[in-house]
Amino acid sequence: MNEQTARALDEHDASAAEHHPTMRTYVIVAAILTAVTGLEFGVIYVRRLAPILFPLLLTLSAGKFALVVMFYMHLRYDSRVLTFLFVAPLVLATVLAIAITTLTGEFLVFRR
């Protein structure tokens, strides 16, 4: 992080904070969340999807997660500092969770 970047981080993008999603956006997001939840429920019963079920479900789940965080929690419209404060720990926590699952369980490839 150089001086310029640091200064840029310091400066709050006030105009971004003033932009909020419209009611229409909120309702569209809710509709997508409902549809994806229905899709998640449906795909687990489709046998042909079994080989890709795990990544498929994770992708759908991540999409829903992102929609709520971006629109309902306003991270898409808010300061980048807030995005950093949430996304950095989220990524690190995900990595640690995978590590715990791998090292303690049998999730990935490292067998003792």
Partner: protein, 811 residues
């Protein structure tokens, strides 16, 4: 902020410098119990942690007496176990961490030109919870049940089967209490540092101590949740008969080690980085040179913090993780030596050709550079798994960690104590006595701990309460004991020096060391409001540049200090932090004695929390708390908290996944989970998020009817979700699945129960806002309060999105 009305405490004519401790006009016990002044809280941290440090030191001396010769017989094996457990726990959680907190509290607001921290009452709450946790832990001595399972509390040694009685209960409850205190304080300081800097103080212009403190706060916020989850598992195993660490039921003891060391290794940096920051202030001041490569020093500190999260398993090389994991953690551990080495060389370069003034503070700072280097070198040895296997559980490791934590952390803290003592008290410590103390500490430390390398190589295991005469360990053990007592005398000398200084010490000027940073710009001790005016910032060493110009001697165009446009606003005292801490303490005592006391404690806690939350609800001075980043302090704090929650739920979910399919008896997930019903409850929770944003929008535009409707709707949907959960839990119990049935039951109920607990808190929060709204106490100007509740609510929602997928849908 322009619409702030006059707060309760308001100084129009600031008091000038005065001798004695830096306290506002109010005196007496009550004023200390209710204080929210960062300087007073810093002093409270300093005094209480020094007391705990002395207790931990006495425990260390008894340990050394027991080992002075073979079969010494000073204490029994059981007492020895308790002594090393309490010594480690005390020094880590009750001495070094809070001694650092004393500096965070007292110095950081001064260094960034602020009048207090972002949340002064929360600051007081952190302290009182910390004190309660410390007293609770040490109360174990009084009831004859001191913890005796090591400061790491390895399961299954600490499970009920192998550690019956109260001792481990004291330990695990107190660590949870202390963890809560640390997380609350860390969130407060992150917001303070990011949001309360004066104009001109960009991130890269922040003093190194502030930077290292910032990194430390992030480590605390992110590292404590995993061990908290581990402690909850252990507590559930002990109190409710779950199977997290029950090998016969499929549990994996490595899980505890991972959860502990994911916290435990960053904890090393939580202890050491503030000391690095102190040294980075002390050396430039007494070398009369800017810190060499300050930006690189900042990057190095950040990298140390980051890599600190990726090396935890080097504490587990002997646990049998396999070659791939061993190699990965070995490489990561070696890499962390790079930024650490950068710091060492930059400190040396700072002193190189400087105009050195060998004050006591300088002695300690230089001492840290020397001693930490030795500890770092033995650390690199440990990064190699084959070498580490030979050193594991020997005195070599004891030597290493003490070189890092005494030679590093404690020497840094002592440097800070001598450096900032005049600022805190308005009086100087005796330099002659201080130098004597330094040499006693330096010599005593090396006499005590260097021989432990030899003992380790000779095979002496750590944590043994005695040894045989023919082992060859007697001579070095005796030398080590002599060194420990010399350290003890050194500490005693510091107390004498402090006492003399407070009674008869020379009066200190505002800037006794010709300092470089903003804290020296105000009087010693500072007035209650810290600065009469917002200090101008000219660069990293702002005060130095203001006095002498930049490195080429060019003086900046003087900028007058800015009068605070809002006047001098100091927070009013509050007794609710003490009440909340009391509630937590009562609940903890109740957990060991009676359910009734738990309920009383929870009742006190709930009453205190509500009163705390609503204390300033109608105070117009608290309507807007927008800071440097253009973000309200409270919103910033909520996002930091949610980052911490990612780690909490990440650990809970990871444990569920790690234990998936390892139950040795049924019922199993596919036999019992009702996916259609849970899909409905998931839909319900998702729709509650829609209602929440509608409620916020209505509050923002002042539509009272809609606001009430959507707030009530959100809470109702939350209650319906809880109803689904109650139905599911009841059905499972009827089908034979409880917390105690198998690993699936333990992990499932704990994960979903914790989420349900969060939903319950959210519902209570929403209902409180609704009641306030019905009473006309929530208007458009309070929209931020609804927004923050909404952030929490949506987070609970997104966590459920993951739980729904990973627990219910993934086969």
């Amino acid at each position: 902020m322009a619409d702030r009305a006059e707060p309760r405490t308001f100084y129009r004519s600031p008091p000038t410098a005065r001798a004695g401790l830096a306290v506002p006009a109010a005196t007496g016990l009550l004023s200390w119990l209710t204080t929210v002044d960062h300087k007073r809280i810093g002093i409270l941290y300093g005094v209480s942690s020094l007391t705990f440090f002395l207790i931990g030191g006495i425990e260390a001396l008894i340990i050394r007496l027991q080992l002075v010769r073979p079969h010494a017989g000073i204490v029994s094996a059981e007492t020895f176990n308790a002594l090393f457990t309490m010594h480690g726990t005390t020094m880590v959680f009750l001495a070094i961490m809070p001694l650092n907190s004393a500096f965070f509290n007292y110095i950081i607001p001064l260094m960034i030109g602020a009048r207090d921290v972002a949340f002064p009452r929360l600051n007081a709450l952190s302290f009182w919870i910390f004190l309660g946790g410390g007293l609770f832990l040490n109360a174990s001595w009084l009831v004859g049940a001191p913890p005796d399972g090591g400061w790491f509390g390895y399961a299954n040694l600490t499970t009920l089967q192998f550690s019956p009685g109260l001792s481990i209960d004291f330990w695990m409850l107190s660590i949870q209490i202390l963890g809560a205190s640390s997380i609350i304080a860390a969130i407060n300081f992150i917001v303070t540092i990011l949001n309360m800097r004066p104009p001109g103080m960009t991130l890269m212009r922040m003093p190194l101590f502030v930077w290292m403190s910032l990194v430390t706060q992030f480590l605390i916020v992110l590292a404590f949740p995993p061990v908290t989850v581990g402690l909850i598992f252990l507590m559930f195993d002990r109190f409710f008969g779950t199977h997290f660490f029950d090998v016969a039921a499929g549990g994996d003891l490595h899980l505890w080690q991972h959860l502990f060391w994911i916290f435990g290794h960053p904890e090393v940096y939580i202890l050491i980085l503030p000391a690095f920051g102190i040294v980075s202030e002390v050396l430039p001041t007494f070398s009369r040179k800017p810190l060499f490569g300050a930006q690189i020093m900042i990057y190095s500190g950040v990298l140390i913090g980051f890599f600190g999260f990726n090396v935890w398993s080097h504490h587990m090389f002997a646990a049998g993780m396999g070659p791939v994991a061993d190699a990965a953690f070995s490489i990561a551990t070696m890499i962390i030596a790079i930024p650490t080495g950068v710091k060492i060389f930059n400190w040396l370069a700072t002193m190189w050709r400087g105009t050195l003034r060998p004050t006591v503070a300088f002695h300690y700072a230089a001492g840290l550079v020397a001693l930490f280097t030795i500890g770092g070198l033995s650390g690199i040895m440990h990064s190699s798994p084959p070498v580490d296997l030979l050193q594991t559980d020997t005195y070599f490791v004891v030597a290493h960690l003490h070189y890092v934590l005494i030679g590093g952390s404690l020497f840094g803290i002592l440097a800070g104590a001598y450096y900032w003592w005049p600022k805190m008290t308005g009086r100087l410590l005796d330099e002659r006595l201080g130098r004597l103390q330094f040499w006693m500490m330096f010599a005593g430390f090396n006499i005590a701990f260097f021989p432990q390398h030899f003992l380790g190589v000779a095979g002496m295991p750590r944590r043994i309460y005695t040894y045989g005469a023919g082992t060859g360990w007697t001579a070095w053990s005796a030398v080590s004991t002599v060194g420990a007592f010399i350290i003890g005398l050194g500490v005693l000398l510091f107390l004498v020096n402090a006492w003399r200084s407070l009674r008869h010490g020379a009066i200190a000027a505002g800037d006794p060391w010709d300092g470089r940073t903003l804290e020296w710009r105000t009087s010693s001790p500072p007035p209650a409001h810290d600065f009469d005016e917002v200090p101008p910032v000219y660069g990293r060493d702002s005060f130095w540049i203001e006095k002498y110009g930049d490195t080429r001697g060019r003086k900046p165009t003087p900028r007058p200090a800015q009068p605070d446009p809002h006047g001098i606003h100091l927070p009013a005292p509050s007794h609710w932090p003490v009440v909340i801490a009391l509630g937590i303490g009562l609940a903890a005592v109740g957990a060991l004695t009676s359910l009734g006391l738990v309920l009383i404690g929870v009742a006190v806690l709930v009453v205190g929390a509500f009163a705390f939350a609503l204390e300033h609800h109608d105070n117009p001075a608290h309507v807007s708390q927008e800071g440097r980043l253009g973000i309200d302090h409270r919103k910033l704090a909520m996002w930091v908290f949610l980052g911490s929650e990612c780690f909490l739920f990440g650990t809970l979910i990871a444990t569920y996944m790690a234990y998936k399919g390892r139950s040795v008896v049924g019922p199993l997930p596919h036999e019992i989970l009702n996916i259609p019903v849970t899909t409905l409850s998931t839909f319900d929770l998702l729709m509650s998020s829609l209602l929440m944003v509608l409620a916020l929008a209505a509050v923002q535009r002042g539509d009272r009817r809609q606001a009430r409707l959507w707030l009530a709707g959100t809470a109702l949907f939350g209650i319906i979700f809880l109803g689904f959960q109650a139905y599911e839990f009841t059905a499972f119990v009827h089908e034979g699945l409880t917390l105690q049935t198998n690993l699936f039951g333990s992990t499932f109920f704990t994960l979903t129960g914790f989420h349900g607990g969060h939903v319950t808190l959210g519902v209570i929060w929403l209902l409180t806002l609704l009641v306030l709204h019905l009473r006309g106490r929530v208007g458009p100007r309070d929209a931020l309060k609804v927004e923050i509740a909404g952030l929490y609510w949506h987070f609970v929602d997104v966590v459920w999105i993951l739980i729904f997928t990973l627990v219910y849908l993934v086969p």
